[in-house]
Symmetry: C2
Subunit: 168 residues, 2 copies
DNA sequence: GTTAAACCTGACAAGTTTGTCAGGTAAATG
DNA sequence: CATTTACCTGACAAACTTGTCAGGTTTAAC
């Protein structure tokens, strides 16, 4: 259960833009160079991360001099879950058993596999928590995710919408 | 947020031993060769996984002919969290910020880092769920982790003990 | 003792992820 | 319209993870 580098650094970039949104003038942008400097990352790497984020609709770019990047929506309306899904390449329910490079072509557990529903429940659960955390709450010091209210959904849950279900 | 191959395959081996415990005679063991065959893994790989597990006290080996591996305790007393911690190399609280190979020697967030407590809370939270799932419950078909009772601990929580806190 | 069946171990090849590089294309200012 | 400042993109080197290999050592049965 690891957090990937892409998730870590991508989220940091988003948080820089969120800070700019709350502290700068409305619509102001941040240069890639500045984000890279503040995070100790290379310009090229930050560009790559922002490319992923912009193609998922979380951030947008303004070209030309005085250009830069900014969030597409208020940082109160963007959830941690939305950002993590974009950055992490969360495996879908179907991919859970096929993401492993074992030497068997078909999952030996395809019948009576007790593990697949476990993984599915875990990732689903983690995201239900993430979806309730707006990134704005990550700006000021500390948030304890354990205090997030968990809604214990029934098994007849509706499929989760692609967008985030942020609830302040 | 990824489940590593070691976690996946290591847990499968543990579940094979748990099944043997519930279905075989008391104290009976399972051959590495048989586990490998049932899971579609190589004998060498299963040996490596079991080595990790045995050095953490989750499984033990019986040498010689008629030897093999078995769990050290009943599968009702071993939690998913305990197995995952052994297999995943979960980073400790101090390592959370240093597990990334960025090009900065000191974490740029060392003062006022809003991310570290988030990662810490998330991993802590996930494990508090895992610790409540005995591996015996993974044997028969499906368990939905979402229905596990979450105890919302206070911030003045005692440090989590190394052993599992399984509660059936 | 001998043998056979099992576990133990370190080194290494293959594959994936991570981060960089070099060279593009687009837009606003003067 | 030239120039500067910025974003865009594909290919690739380095680092890490994954899984294998070859050869050990230990133990129980006969």
């Amino acid at each position: 259960m690891k957090i990937t580098a892409q998730e870590e650094y991508g989220l940091r970039c988003v948080l820089q833009l969120a800070r700019e949104e709350t502290q700068g003038t409305p619509g102001s942008t941040l240069l890639v160079r500045d984000i890279a400097e503040r995070e100790g990352l290379s310009v090229a790497y930050v560009e790559k991360l922002l490319w992923t984020l912009s193609h998922s609709g979380i951030v947008e770019s303004v070209r030309g001099p005085k250009g830069g990047y900014r969030l597409t929506r208020s940082c109160h309306e963007i959830s941690l879950g939305e950002v993590m899904r974009v950055l992490g390449g969360i495996p879908s329910e179907e991919e859970i058993c096929s993401q492993f490079t074992g030497n068997h072509d078909t999952c030996v557990h395809h019948d009576g596999c007790g593990l697949k529903p476990v993984w599915a429940s875990i990732t689903d659960f983690v995201h239900s928590v993430f979806d309730k955390v707006p990134i704005s709450s990550l700006l000021n010091g500390t948030i304890d995710v354990r205090f997030v209210q968990i809604t214990s959904r029934n098994s007849s849950k509706p499929p989760a919408p692609a967008g985030a279900a942020v609830q302040s």
